[in-house]
């Protein structure tokens, strides 16, 4: 079902004073990481250029884990024994890195003029009235991410530079995803590499919400 554009246009967009978002970035064999690299038409909000960021560092790492659950599975630090309540505190600070590439962590500061916060009740109501299934925020890749790609197709017409949405990987009230679109790119004001080479911790991998049926067995 097509989304109702006229209703979507009523979703409020606001200016965001310089806000910092986090992104775990690929480390190349040679040269510097490129925090603005984006494969076209990929992920939940596919456009020609979508830069996926998180509002907190745990969100950035949780999204990384959820995206690469198979390699988290190959990075078992318990030798097949698995994590349990009693052992979690002991393993929590260890890295998950055997088959999961380390990443650089960047802080990206943006000064958006038109960011749509889709997590506020008003926006959720308008989304629902426009025909957008709110469960799509958590829909898996295998289900085509629900209505998210259809909404992503309209962001340019809606004039949205970025959107604030729930994170499927970090389903808690303290973190969100912020996909930045092509028009938001010019609002980038600062880029800082805060970690040169790091891996998600065992605790982070355990706290991540994975797609249905993809949670690595050793995480319990």
């Amino acid at each position: 079902m097509a989304l109702n554009f006229d209703i979507l246009r009523e979703i409020p967009v606001g200016e965001a004073m310089e806000s910092v978002f986090y992104r775990a970035v690929h480390i190349p064999a040679r040269g510097e990481p490129d925090p603005l690299f984006s494969l076209p038409a990929s992920g939940r909000w596919p456009t020609a250029w979508t830069l996926y960021t998180g509002t907190t560092e745990p969100v950035a790492w949780a999204e990384y884990c959820r995206n690469h659950a198979h390699d988290i599975g190959l990075s078992d630090v318990t030798g097949g024994v698995g994590l349990a309540k009693a052992t979690l505190p002991s393993y929590a600070h260890l890295e998950v890195a055997k088959a999961l590439p380390r990443r650089s962590l960047y802080e990206l500061s943006f000064d958006f003029r038109a960011m749509a916060d889709l997590t506020i009740p008003w926006a959720e109501d308008l989304l629902a009235r426009a025909g957008f299934d709110l469960g799509s925020f958590y829909a898996d890749q295998r289900s085509g991410y629900g209505d998210c790609p259809a909404l992503a197709e309209l962001v340019s017409q809606l004039g949205w530079e970025a959107i604030k949405v729930p994170s499927a990987a970090w389903q808690r009230p303290d973190g969100f995803c912020v996909p930045v679109f092509e028009t938001g790119r010019r609002r980038l004001v600062k880029m800082v590499r805060t970690l040169e080479s790091a891996s998600p911790s065992v605790a982070l991998a355990a706290a991540t919400s994975y797609a249905s049926g993809e949670r690595p067995v050793w995480l319990g």
Partner: protein, 188 residues
């Protein structure tokens, strides 16, 4: 309430005892089986049912919260790696060194002897094996910055079937796509 009231695929025999209502507060909820099944019923009306897989396995909400609290405290672990080796202009040597693969592992991909594979270092890779070897090198180059050579070897050889096994049966492009996906940071 009967199983017939549930959506297709969400009901299975035995769940009757797990349906919670306000008069059975001590019974299990289904979460311990890895499933959350919620039914809301008003007398005289059909029940409204929601079902979702428990994404935290058998841990339950308390442990998930504990993991989250520890994760906020330590979301990541910093580890510096030595710089990746440079390409040598010798294809076989590059796959061996940058991919961290033994000659035996390389031989297995092509179903040849270890001695024959090791011989490629001096004699060159035969033309009909070059494309696969070049793809192996490209995959290794993509992954080595984050994994180091030992990690690339593990990334390729761990699991059943391993990615090396898959390359051996012709799934080179699919494995290369998996490596390429690491260059981006999509959210799910």
């Amino acid at each position: 309430m009967s199983g017939a009231t549930f959506e297709i695929g969400t009901w299975r025999p035995g769940l009757e005892s797990l349906i919670w209502n306000c008069e059975e507060q001590d019974l299990p909820t289904g979460g311990e089986l890895g499933h959350l099944v919620t039914a809301f019923a008003v007398p005289g009306e059909a029940p409204s049912i929601a079902h979702a897989e428990n994404t935290f396995g058998g841990w339950g909400v308390g442990l998930a919260e504990e993991a989250a609290a520890l994760a906020v405290e330590t979301p990541s672990v910093v580890t510096l790696q030595p710089p990746a080796p440079r390409l040598s202009n010798n294809l076989a040597e590059d796959v061996h060194v940058i991919g961290g693969l033994t000659w035996s592992q390389i031989a297995k991909v092509f179903n040849i002897s270890e001695r024959a594979a090791a011989g490629w270092r001096a004699q060159g890779v035969p033309p009909h094996r070059q494309e696969t070897m070049e793809a192996l090198r490209a995959i290794a180059v993509t992954m080595v910055g984050g994994l180091g050579t030992g990690g690339v070897s593990r990334w390729l050889s761990a699991g059943r079937p391993s990615r090396l096994d898959r390359i051996g049966v012709g799934e080179v492009a699919a494995v290369a796509e998996e490596a390429k996906s690491y260059r981006d940071t999509p959210a799910t």
